[in-house]
């Protein structure tokens, strides 16, 4: 009796488009996973505790952030645009200018991020921020 052997049907390797599909899906998956956990933000250098630096008064730009998030310069409320103008004008004369920001303990974090964003945009190298000891009195 002649035994008929049945040839197994398979996929021609030349036509195996599914393999490339799988590889493509894997690549997409890894890209998505890699991008998903990447954080963006600001890298800030911290000073040594208790370290001080003497800065000439004319190279210093001071501003305060109040509890409501209002920006003030020497007690006078200023807009963000005014701060940018002041910083740009000072930097023109004093390229090594320092921007000192005093922040009220109750100031929302977003306001600090706004100011750091401006500092980055203006490319100010010397930026220092610290918390106010006490709440400023009104009209001070």
């Amino acid at each position: 009796m002649k035994v008929r052997t049945h040839r197994r049907t398979g996929l021609d390797i030349g036509e195996s488009a599914t393999l490339s599909d799988l590889a493509f899906l894997l690549i997409i998956f890894f890209i998505v996973i890699a991008v998903f956990t990447v954080h963006k933000g600001f890298l800030l250098g911290l000073p040594e505790p208790g370290s001080t630096r003497i800065i000439p008064r004319e190279e210093l730009l001071q501003a305060e952030l109040t509890a409501s998030g209002e920006l003030r310069s020497r007690g006078t409320p200023i807009s963000t645009e005014e701060l940018i103008r002041m910083a740009e004008s000072l930097r023109k004369d004093r390229p090594n200018m320092t921007f000192l920001l005093k922040i009220d303990p109750e100031t929302p974090y977003q306001r600090l991020v706004d100011i750091v964003d401006i500092v980055r945009r203006l490319d100010i190298d010397n930026f220092s921020f610290s918390m106010m000891e006490e709440h400023p009195q009104p009209n001070e």
């Binding site: 197994r8 398979g10 996929l11 021609d12 390797i13 030349g14 195996s16 599914t18 799988l22 899906l25 894997l26 998956f29 996973i33 998903f36 956990t37 990447v38 954080h39 963006k40 933000g41 600001f42 890298l43 800030l44 250098g45 911290l46 000073p47 040594e48 505790p49 952030l65 963000t80 922040i103 009220d104 303990p105 109750e106 100031t107 929302p108 974090y109 977003q110 600090l112 991020v113 706004d114 750091v116 964003d117 980055r120 945009r121 610290s130 918390m131």
Partner: protein, 141 residues
């Protein structure tokens, strides 16, 4: 003389194994997702435009919610506990990047408390995590 030509067989891939491969891939992806699982604290990220990538080889994420509570790995921690945790992490690997993920409405005193700890521990770099403004959400501040 008769030359016997050997019949060349075409390459053959059994398609029945494809489902096995797909199944293994599925398991693999599920495992990878579990490895990358991060316990996120529900916060509203602050927004800024001039952001840079702040990823380090090793990082310690410290979350602060709008009420000023601190979290590490999804677990609420007291500030003293966080100080110990940061100190241990830095001792093990001084290049560890400390990332602060705070809510946009968190009072600055909480951020400052953390920054002061980092200064005391002589850690020189801190990362303030923010996100890029959504096009329709961004307000002119």
């Amino acid at each position: 003389m008769k030359v016997i030509r050997k019949k060349r067989r075409k390459p053959f891939v059994p398609i029945s194994t494809m489902s096995d491969i797909a199944f293994l891939l599925l398991i693999f992806m599920m495992l990878i997702s579990l490895i990358h699982y991060r316990r996120e604290v529900p916060i509203q990220y602050p927004e800024a435009e001039h952001l840079t990538r702040t990823e380090g080889a090793k990082k310690l994420e410290i979350w602060i919610d709008r009420g000023g509570r601190f979290y590490v790995g999804g677990k609420e921690q007291a500030l003293q506990e966080i100080e110990g945790l940061i100190a241990d992490t830095i001792v093990q690997d001084p290049s560890t990047q400390i990332q602060i993920l705070a809510d946009r409405d968190t009072p600055y005193r909480n951020i400052n408390a953390l920054v002061e700890i980092l200064k005391q521990l002589q850690h020189r770099v801190v990362s303030f995590v923010a996100r890029e403004p959504q096009k329709d959400e961004y307000r002119n501040r």
